[in-house]
């Protein structure tokens, strides 16, 4: 069964304390892995798409990496405004169409 698991469920960091969030997947027919940020009361906001193992994408303090089994979202020197829930999703091909599966997210809290 296709599955996406994110860890940890919740993470508290001090401002400036770097860390990584994990998204592991067991799927067939992967056609992209996506990272989103979701703030309370809002819809998820697109961050990155990764397509192949070894690929990396960066945006400000965030860097996403991809292997054949998992993706990491590295947060370098986080600030309180980075506090949010981070979601990963995989896109699969099934019966000639795309299918998306989301993980349950990591709730990040950065303390000043």
């Amino acid at each position: 069964e296709d599955q996406v698991t994110q860890s940890p469920e919740a993470l508290r960091l001090q401002e400036g304390e770097s860390s990584s969030l994990n998204c592991s997947y067991t799927v067939s027919g992967l056609r992209g892995l996506f990272w989103y940020r979701q703030d309370p009361g809002k819809g998820p906001e697109f961050l990155f798409t990764l397509y192949s193992a070894g690929e990396e994408k960066e945006k400000e303090r965030l860097k996403a990496t991809l292997t054949k089994k998992e993706s990491f979202l590295h947060i370098t020197a986080p600030k309180p405004e980075d506090s949010a829930t981070y979601l990963c999703a995989v896109r699969l091909t099934t019966s000639g169409t795309y299918k998306y599966i989301f993980g349950t997210g990591t709730r990040l809290k950065v303390l000043a």
């Binding site: 979701q38 998820p44 906001e45 697109f46 798409t49 998306y100 989301f102 349950t104």
Partner: protein
């Protein structure tokens, strides 16, 4: 201008009622989606429409019926609402081959 807008933002209604949620996107995307986010923040796809044609219909009760009058609109109608339907419903859109989804801000449905 809001890229994906959905109304209403909040909806409180009694069991057994019929209600609709509207969604419009002004991005020119060719695919629109409805997602349900439960209390544990898990996002699960319900429907996907590509150019007004239904292409994904996950296992949801047939009390839920999507309607797409044109490429820019995807509405969700729910009959005979039940307590378990309480959740946040997100509309999203995407363009084939482009970056990830653009989500609306969500509709929090509470059935009492």
């Amino acid at each position: 201008d809001t890229a994906v807008s959905q109304t209403p933002k909040y909806l409180v209604t009694q069991m057994g009622n019929d209600k609709s949620i509207k969604c419009e996107q002004n991005l020119g995307h060719d695919t629109m989606y409805w997602y349900k986010q439960d209390s544990k923040k898990f996002l699960k796809i319900m429907f996907s429409y590509n150019n007004k044609e239904l292409i994904i219909n996950e296992t949801v009760p047939n009390r839920f019926s999507p309607k797409s009058p044109d490429k820019a609109h995807l509405n969700l109608h729910i009959n005979s609402l039940e307590l378990g339907d309480s959740a946040v419903y997100f509309c999203a859109s995407s363009q084939v081959g482009k970056r990830g989804y653009t989500f609306g801000s969500g509709t929090r449905l509470t059935v009492v």
